[in-house]
Structure formats: C-alpha cells, structure tokens
Amino acid sequence: MPALDAHCSMASRDEVEQLQLERLQATLHRVYKNVEYYRDSFRNCGFYPDDLTSLDTLQKLPTTARDTLVKNYPYGMFAVPLREVIRLQSTSSEVRGPIVVGFTRNDIDHWTELAARSLLSAGVGPDDVVHIYIDYGMFPGALGLHYGAERIGASVIPSSNMPPDTELEMMKNYHTTVLVTTPHKALRLIDFIRLHHVNVKALMLRACLLVGQYWSESVRKRIEENIYTPVFDCYGHSEIVATGIAAECKERNGLHINEDHFIAEVVDPASGKALQPGQAGELMITTLTKEAFPLIRYRTGDITRLNEKPCGCGSCFVRMDKVTSRTDDMLFVGGVNLFPAQVERIIADAIGPAASRPVFQLVVAGSEVSESVEVALEVNEAIFSDRLRALRSLEDKIRDELFDIIGVTAKIRLVEPGTLGQQAESVRVVDKREANL
C-alpha cells in the first residue's frame, strides 16, 4: 500500500513531480469527460486536457470556488455515477448553501491511507491505544482517523461526547497512549485536570493529535505543559478529505502536504494570483486521486504559507504553516463554525418576513475553554411589542434556532435602537476572547 510505504514521502522531488504530472493529466481528462462544469470552464478559457505539458500549466486553469459546489448541488460535481459512491458526506451550511461530497471505495481507501500516514508521522504505531475523542457526527474527519488508526493496527477507542471525568478515567484504565481530539475538547480536559488536580502522570499518553479547528501555538504550549505530551497538528478540509491533507512530522515545524495526492498552491485571496513560497495567502488544492469528487484548484478559504525548504525528517513533501485564519468571516466558537450571515438569516426568520434588515452584533467572549456568544439585537418597530412575553418568546426562538441549526448556545440581549449605531453594520463581530483560538 503506497501510503504506508515510508519511501513514498522519501521519494526524490523528481519522482514526486513525475507522479503529480501523471495523476494530474489523468484527473483533468476524467473531469473533462465526466463533469459538465469543468468541461465548460475549460472550454471557456480555451484549455483542453492535452495542453497540460507541465505542472505549471495548472496555473492557467480557472479556480473552483465554494459557490460553484453549491450551485451544482447535489450531484453536479460528481465524476462517477452515484452507484459507485459508497459514502455521502454533507457539509451543510444554512447561509452558504449545502454541499455534498461523495467517496468511492478507492476514495475511502486513499483517505484511510492518508490518515494512517498522518498518524504514523506523529509516531503512532501498531502497539498504540488510540483514543478518538471527537464527535463523530459533527466532524467527519474523526472517521478518517479512526480508519487510519485501524489500518496501522493500533487499538482504537471511539468516544464522542463523554464528560471530561469519564474520559480521563477511560484514558487511565484503557492505557491510552495517543489522544486524537479537537483543540476545544483538549482544553476542556486540561481545565478539568487543573481544577480537580488529576494525576496526569498516571496516564500513558505519548502523543496528542489535534484536528478540526484553527488553533494557535499558545494552545499547543498550554496543552503540552499540562499533559506532558507532544501535540501534533493535522490538516484537512471538509470538501476534500476532512483529515490527512497535511500533517506535522516529528520536527513539528510545518505540516507536510501529501503531494502524491494533492497539489497545493497559495494565491492572493483578492486577485487569485499565485504567490511565491513563503508568502501568506489562500491555500488552493487540486486533488490528484479522488474519483468521485475531484476538485481542480479549489479555494479552501484557509490562509497559510508554503515552505519548500527541505525538512529535517527527510521528506521532500512541501510544508505548509499551521492554518490560523481564514479569508472569510467564519468564526470558530466552541468547536462549531459560525458565520455572521447565518445568524442574520436566523434572526430575520424569527422576526418575520416584513421586517427590515436586523441590526445586531455578535460578541464572543470568555477563555479558550469556556466560550460564550452573545447576540445583541436592536429592537426596531418590527420587533417591538408592549408585551414582555412577546419579546421573551422572540429571544427564546432565536436562541433555540441558533442551537438547532448552528449548534451554538448563545445569549440573546435586546438593546435599544441606536445602541449599536453605525458600527454594527461594519463590525458585526466583537471577539473578546483571551487568546484567539
């Protein structure tokens, strides 16, 4: 199996580029043949897959935006008939529109290999007990890592939503050696450990993998200081594979992109122009092996930098910086993606159809461990009622909808008209968190 083959990432740059060229040519022929959107967009720019003679030619092709995937929802971007798809994963979002990603058996197999590779590069082996403490339903990347750990031959403990004390008890009793979780959950565990003076040394942890959220080096430091275990980062994208696009090696100085399966480019988010290695910009991914849902130059919305310098681990795969920001206004609160536009839609629906655009502000506060969201909403004629109960029920309605649709628990505060003023139009989000995740 090539992904588990250590030689794969140890190949020379020459070999990697030959493989990329071969796979890119096959992918372009396939999308041209099978995906109407790509056929049209290639034709519009006068490109025919035969014209691809080197990897640089890729830069001439149009990029694929998230909106395109939404427009072609549900199956427009599929390159295989549905009967060959064995998994459908929806990355739904009220405001930005739903997307469904398909995987063939080979796609799942490749994903598993990539996840296994990510775990291997963090030093996970067949003798490890891998504890996956992620909500499997909320975050599909958990499944990838689960399969990956099984492929390595490690013992996997799936556990989604246990309270921290049960979780720590399990980790102790089952001799967990590797913890795979989200930064949010990790920080909650640590908070519990500190609060209850849990003896961390009774745990047998030797590595921790954080996935699925944007987090900073300070978070890494805090976790490492508290559980005495190196923390590794693993990058994925829900429209491509949710885990395993890139992962940190033992050097922990950037994430190696699995270049035998993906081509990464970094472009200026505004102009779409290619940037030099080392310059920060939006990450763009071209899939090389995906059968059901291939993407050409897909704009991930994640900001990063590429580093082509050789790495101490010997792998020639290019490295990317940890992703800590995005090109859009997406917020990450309590492990959930949140868009201000999404909140606006929910408020507008709650008020009723006739109302003018609601004036509101999102205030995110608290520490990394316990975050709180407050929605300050100006009361206008459409909302106003002389009965307190009506206002209260509006508050409840918005709060419930926010929880049901987005999954975030928010406090609703009604304020007098003009309180938020002009600034609410431009500054819809106030982030008061101590250290930005």
Binding site: Q25, D51, T53, Y75, E84, D109
Partner: protein
C-alpha cells in the same frame, strides 16, 4: 528507470497519443490496459523507437532516448517483444535466440551469450527441447516464449511486452503470465500491454488505463481492479445522468 512525459505520437496526420505521462520503476511490472485502438501498443512502439513522428520526453535512467534509431535504443537496454511475436519463422530456435543477442556480438562475448542461452532455456525448458526446430513450426505458446526469450538475449534493462497472451488458449496464456511473474523475481523491469486487464493487473504492481490516447486512470493494481472507470474505458460505456 523509465519516465515518459507528455508523449504525443502521430501516424501521418492521425494523432494516436495525446500527451501520455508514465513511469516504470526499477524491478517493477507496470501494465497498460485499455480497449482496442486506445494507443497502448503505440506507446511501446514509440518507446522502442518504431514510431518516428512524436514529441515529448522519453527518459531512460535520466537520458532522453526519444528520436534515437531503434537499434540504438536496444543498445541502451530496451527490448521489445512485439505484438504477434514476429519471429524469424524459417530459422531455428537457436538462431532466433542468437539474433536476439545481435547487438552484443563482439570478440569474446560468445561465452557470455552461451551462458545467457542456458539461462533462457532454464526459464523455458520447452525451448531447449526444440532448439533445432524451425521457429515457424512451434505452437503459438512456444512461439510467444521464444519471442520473450529472444528479447531477453539482449540483456535488457527494460522489457516491453506487447500482448503476450494474444491468440493463445487460456491455459497457455496463463503459463505465459506465470513466466512473467518469474521474470519479476529476477528483477527484470517490464512494461506490459494487455487486453486481458484482469490477468495483467494480477501480475503487475501498477497500471495505467489508456483511452483514446490519454491516461484516464492510473494507480496501484488493486485500486484499478475496483475502479469502474476501467470498465468504461473498455466498453466505451458512458452515462448521461449521475444517478443512472
């Protein structure tokens, strides 16, 4: 070992290959599969120098051999077992084998060639029995073995096999495939063209699916055996709607 980049070949004004890239690592068996007329044999013939109109790169251990005369390419260590065997029918088995070693003939090489002949006789004992027989009188399977043996006599670093099972009874073609597996153990690098995709993917480590002069899928054999694009490439079957 072999790296092909953006290979385009033409027969007159007809374009047979439309930008093929592939590679074969040392000691690997790589197969090219696809329907009739997809361009599989053209790839082999172009690598062997038999198709003169072409562009792109053919690198053999880093050295561009594209455009060299066929006999020069043989000297570089590439041997082609052509489709339909192409033996010298009125000559004996031994003569055919000696001609296979033609490029190696020089003073003092006689002993080496004799040793190599013993080696191919080990590989194909039936040829030893029929060493004096005329090649044209051999059975189809034996002729195929002779064609492979003849190619091996030039001590190739890369063996190009074009449809070794063509026109053979299933039992005989199985035997040919067993020989290919044996060659693999001797670390001969092979680029194999086959109509019989399933059999080819069983002996090869990796494969490329060719359709109308292009690679549409590539990857490890296990992946290809599960990929329905392979069926489509063969049957020319296409679908209108994704939920079909």
């Amino acid at each position: 070992m072999l790296k092909v980049q953006n290979l385009k070949s033409y027969y007159g004004r007809l374009q047979a290959l439309r930008g093929i890239s592939l590679h074969v690592g040392k000691g690997e068996i790589v197969t090219l599969i696809g329907a009739n007329g997809a361009g599989k044999s053209t790839i082999l013939n172009t690598v062997a120098g038999l198709v003169s109109q072409n562009e792109g790169k053919i690198l053999l251990e880093g050295k561009d051999i594209r455009g060299l005369a066929p006999e020069r390419i043989v000297r570089h260590g590439v041997a082609l077992v052509p489709e339909g065997r192409q033996l010298f029918a009125p000559m004996t088995v031994v003569d055919n084998l000696e001609l296979g070693a033609y490029v190696r003939h020089k003073n003092g090489s006689k002993i080496e060639i004799r040793q190599d002949m013993e080696m191919v006789f080990d590989l194909f004992p039936v040829l030893k029995e029929r060493r004096k027989q005329l090649a044209g009188t051999l059975s189809g399977g034996e002729q195929q073995m002779l064609a492979i043996a003849r190619a091996l006599m030039s001590r190739p670093r890369l063996l190009l096999l074009d449809e070794p099972s063509m026109g053979l009874a299933p039992k005989i073609s199985e035997e040919i495939f067993r020989t290919i597996v044996r060659l693999k153990k001797q670390e001969v690098t092979i680029l194999l063209v086959e109509q019989n995709a399933r059999m080819a993917l069983e002996v090869a480590g990796r494969g490329y699916v060719i359709e109308t002069g292009q690679v549409v899928v590539q990857g490890p054999s296990a992946d290809l055996l599960r990929n329905h694009e392979v069926e489509r490439a063969y049957l020319g079957k296409t679908y209108e709607k994704v939920w079909e």
